[in-house]
Point group: C2
Chain length 471, copies 2
């Protein structure tokens, strides 16, 4: 990877600017210097500044540049631009930038990348450009990329890297080491090698540290780890991530349905998946889908509107409950003033339980075996916190409206709503999961509906009965 | 690690039960068999079932067992029990189980573990037990664990592993390989070795694949990577995780203030941190702190109550705004029916923006450089979605109450509240971050306050003016 060597042919200038500040953010002076070089079309200066950056820094730098500057940046760097950096930018930024670059250039650059990075860049391009680029590539590269693209999005096969080291089972440790010393087309970095039979069926994996600890005359097959489950290429990346995480894997073989080795996955790809999945739940609970900070106004507005409209249904339903009691409210307007407190406390408590439940389901910490215990806990917690809040709110209402009855009524409603919040916060996500609906996406609408409807109904209903008001 | 070898001395029984089902959950029949063996105090059967499990499976198994069975499980397995499994259980389960085991036994087991695992187990024990266990350990072990425990919680020094391979700069690749073939106290698994000077100052790191590709007579110092930034032992784990993620690291040296190598961090520890941090934001937004599914009723209730009480303040404030308009509501009770819709739509929109902003701040994708652009986007999105919802809600209100004026009033209030939702959803997290307050924890209270107060005020205020009602 030539771009990682410090540029030698540019005269030594003032000391290089720091790329990042203490907090790990890109240094503003550095960005400014890059922008200046781009505007002056000063390729030498730009090479000096940016050619030997790590791909992650280059990716962030591209995001920090104005949209017009991005393509110029790539063009000025020429062959020194490492396309791997594009795997480190937002999708919106990457897609726009790729549109601005000629397809032949992209094709020749992708030929140099590890296949997983090439696929990452190709997969979001439109079908026409994708076909054109694949068409220009040598047969072997094209076949490999096409195979990965044929696997479903979010599958192990889509994310895997086609470059790996596989040796025959009769090889010795010494032969293997000699091979690695002499081969020139090894992957950029690797952590284990794989042992295969003549038909490329996977027999086992050997971690590099094991090779280094073993005498040269030993067979690799004698030190390989057979028990490690290989990943199926069709498996979902979330499944795979869970296995990496659970068994502390650094890399894993990927096999097809016939058990033949087709690629490998490394932990750095999986780290992104793990973070994505945790974030996905958080975003789903808040109804923001997989939007990115660089998305346009229209994309963002559209993706959020669905959620808001669904919630509008919930809100109208809650209003309809209030509508049942319009005469009650007319007779005692203090009820209108206090009723949002009951609904909002229930909503907050429901969200607490639901968040714990959704994550528990995702990490498999919550399952059939402990559901009953957790349910009992949630009911108890709802009751205890309901009592505590009931006292606080009851006294507040009593003092505020000088009406002890109002204090009693709101206290009762709070306890009831907190119990329903705990129950629905747990059972709704669990039920959705059983029905194969993603609990992160759908739970909060239902839970809020329950806490709103129960909150208003309990409060206004008890008040109507207690004070003998019309409804 | 003897426990990883299949048990040979137990007669072959019926085929071993599968440990996990297709979804990756522990197999119920397997758990039942283990419980049976424990209740029958059948050590042989238990060894056969559970002695050669991966530590992650053992950890999950312990969690799945009833509280009474856990200590018996450990006792029956005896020396075959791998204490590393305790690093894979919930804190609450671990602490309870450790209390049930004799300190001498724990001490002798911890002596065998990698230091990071030993620290992980020790750190949550009470000070007295901790001191007793440390007191029994050999001096070298004790000093190493004590040093790690002296570093702050959540620091790199607390999480690091004291076992690593360091060689002198004049060593050749051949010498290094020979050393690794002969040494017996190597770490369980490793991915790079480190080059140090005589005072143990870190000079560089060499990935194992590089060693394997290089000729025996080359000096390790000629192939080491000097530029890789080492982690400072006092650095926060979140910082470190971000660096691992950004630069796709698999392991990293940890140095003290004088640049001396004191330990290493590997990606499997960091994966946990990355997941924890993403989850932490999600939990913080919902106000559930770092509770675990196995926490007791009281712990859970207490940790959640704080958040509910803070939100009660918000709810009372919103009620006070409604209270200002009690005469308006008395004159037109339909306002009481509709007002929660305005507040709830604003709350949902505010949460959407806030979630994006909080994650953007955490991943440093949102910063000063793009704040203005994102702000413009949020205002536009708020306006567009506000208009869309205004039409929907306006028509609903008009038809429902046969009053076109009511439709106009609620439409206006919705647009205003959606704008405020976008503004506050973005600016409140950013401002809190500037003030060094964790935006994930504090944002939602403030954002909800804004959307509730603005929502009720705008709707009731506009209505009072439009219809000429008293307030």
């Amino acid at each position: 990877m030539a771009h990682l060597d410090p540029i030698q042919d540019v005269e030594a200038e003032a000391p290089l600017l720091e790329v990042r500040d203490d907090e790990g953010r890109l240094n503003r002076d550095f960005i400014a210097a890059v922008e200046e070089a781009i505007e002056g079309a000063d390729a030498d200066r730009l090479l000096h500044l940016a050619a030997d950056l790590h791909e992650a820094d280059t990716g962030d730098l591209i995001e920090a540049l104005g949209e017009e500057d991005r393509a110029s940046f790539v063009r000025l760097l020429g062959d020194e631009f490492d396309y791997t950096a594009l795997t480190e930018t937002d999708e919106a930024v990457r897609v726009k930038l790729l549109e601005a670059l000629p397809n032949e250039e992209i094709a020749s650059a992708l030929g140099e990348l590890d296949s997983d990075d090439a696929v990452y860049i190709l997969e979001d391009m439109d079908a026409e450009d994708q076909a054109e680029i694949l068409g220009v590539l040598p047969y072997a590269d094209r076949a490999q990329l096409q195979r990965a693209l044929d696997y479903p999005e979010d599958s192990a096969g889509r994310r895997m890297q086609g470059e790996f080291i596989a040796v025959a089972q009769f090889w010795t440790v010494g032969q293997t080491i000699d091979y690695m010393r002499e081969a020139h087309d090894l992957p950029d970095s690797f952590y284990e090698i794989y042992v295969v039979d003549p038909s490329f069926k996977l027999l086992g994996a050997v971690a590099l540290d094991k090779i280094l600890r073993t005498r040269r005359d030993q067979k690799v097959s004698s030190i390989m780890d057979e028990t490690r489950h290989a990943v199926l290429a069709t498996e979902d990346q979330e499944e795979v991530a869970r296995r990496f995480e659970r068994y502390n894997l650094v890399s894993s073989a990927v096999v097809d349905e016939t058990d033949r080795l087709v690629g490998i996955l490394t932990v750095d790809d999986i780290v992104d998946v793990i973070q994505e999945e945790a974030e996905e739940d958080m975003r789903a609970l808040a109804g923001v889908g997989d939007e990115e900070i660089s998305d346009s106004v229209l994309t963002t507005a559209k993706s959020r509107l669905t959620w808001l409209v669904v919630n509008l249904g919930t809100a109208v339903l809650a209003s309809a409950v209030i509508g049942l009691f319009d005469q009650t409210i007319e007779a005692m307007v203090a009820l209108a003033v206090l009723m949002p407190i009951v609904a909002s406390m229930g909503g907050n408590a429901g969200t607490q339980t639901m968040t714990v439940a959704v994550r528990g389901i995702a990490t498999q910490e919550l399952g059939t075996r402990n559901l009953l215990r957790v349910l009992r806990r949630e009911v108890m917690v709802g009751f205890l916190n309901g009592m505590a809040l009931a006292v606080l709110i009851g006294v507040t209402a009593w003092v505020w409206f000088q009406n002890i009855g109002l204090g009693v009524v709101i206290s009762g409603a709070i306890v009831i709503n907190m119990l329903f919040a705990g129950l629905s916060g747990l059972l709704i996500p669990v039920a959705l999961d059983r029905l194969k609906v993603d609990p992160a996406i759908a739970s909060s609408v239902f839970v809020t509906t329950v806490t709103d409807v129960v909150g208003f109904f309990a409060f206004l209903g008890i008040a109507a009965i207690w004070f003998g008001l019309p409804f």
